[in-house]
Subunit: 140 residues, 2 copies
């Protein structure tokens, strides 16, 4: 795994309700994980890895992914659709991999990234050195 | 840093509005970070580190923290108050450190942890091995 490898964790537990019935739903994260893998195989982006996980605990904004890289900020993004957002997720992963610290400049963020951020987490190696952090609020 | 070290990233950008005015707010994360550090110094919990960060991008649920440990799931928890939740955050960090994978059993979770989860993220080392993951929905 190279320094620029990015893992896209895809929540495959997210339920998207069909109509008003609680018992009728789809699990769109499974389709999203498959679509991302298929797209990445076609594109030859070996530095982006797709890993399905059973729950990212963001149940109200399906589908959800987390994009993580070693020594980078992790971004959680929700409101994603397997039919609409595969290209944007791949672009986001590549931008995150190319960045030094995982913080992708606002102008490089696709719409789904700008609108869908649930949270972000510093790398475990981050120190109390706040001047290196760029608040999201400054970028938006 | 030992294997069980847990970092509590405290968002110090979270704004808590005072009344209905957008321009009147406090920054309770700063007090929370200070209160946690003071509490940990008293308690001698060297394996819990408090790191203020400028934005976790969970602006609607102040204060927010992220609890991270090497090779463990990271949990983001919001709706925290520096006057009310310091002991529960410390207890959560210690439980997370004592756990093998960062997933704290439901019965061990304080109320602020049960109610405040924003999201969780697998460790970067996680593989597509879903049977080892315990969905949050099973526990709740």
């Amino acid at each position: 795994m190279s320094e620029s490898t990015v893992t896209v964790f895809v929540c495959v537990s997210c339920r998207r309700r069909l109509g008003d019935c609680d018992d009728a739903f789809t699990l769109p994260g499974r389709d999203l994980a498959e679509a991302l893998r298929s797209r990445l195989q076609q594109g030859g982006h070996a530095d982006v890895v797709v890993t399905p996980v059973d729950c990212l605990a963001v149940c109200k904004r399906p589908c959800t992914v987390a994009l993580s890289g070693a020594d980078k900020w992790t971004y959680l993004i929700g409101d994603l659709d397997p039919q609409l957002h595969v290209e944007e997720i791949v672009a986001t992963a590549l931008s995150l991999g190319a960045s030094g610290n995982g913080i992708v400049p606002w102008r490089e963020r696709p719409a789904s990234f700008r609108k869908g951020v649930i949270a972000r987490v510093p790398p475990i190696t981050a120190k109390d050195d706040r001047q290196i952090f760029i608040p999201e609020s400054v970028e938006s």
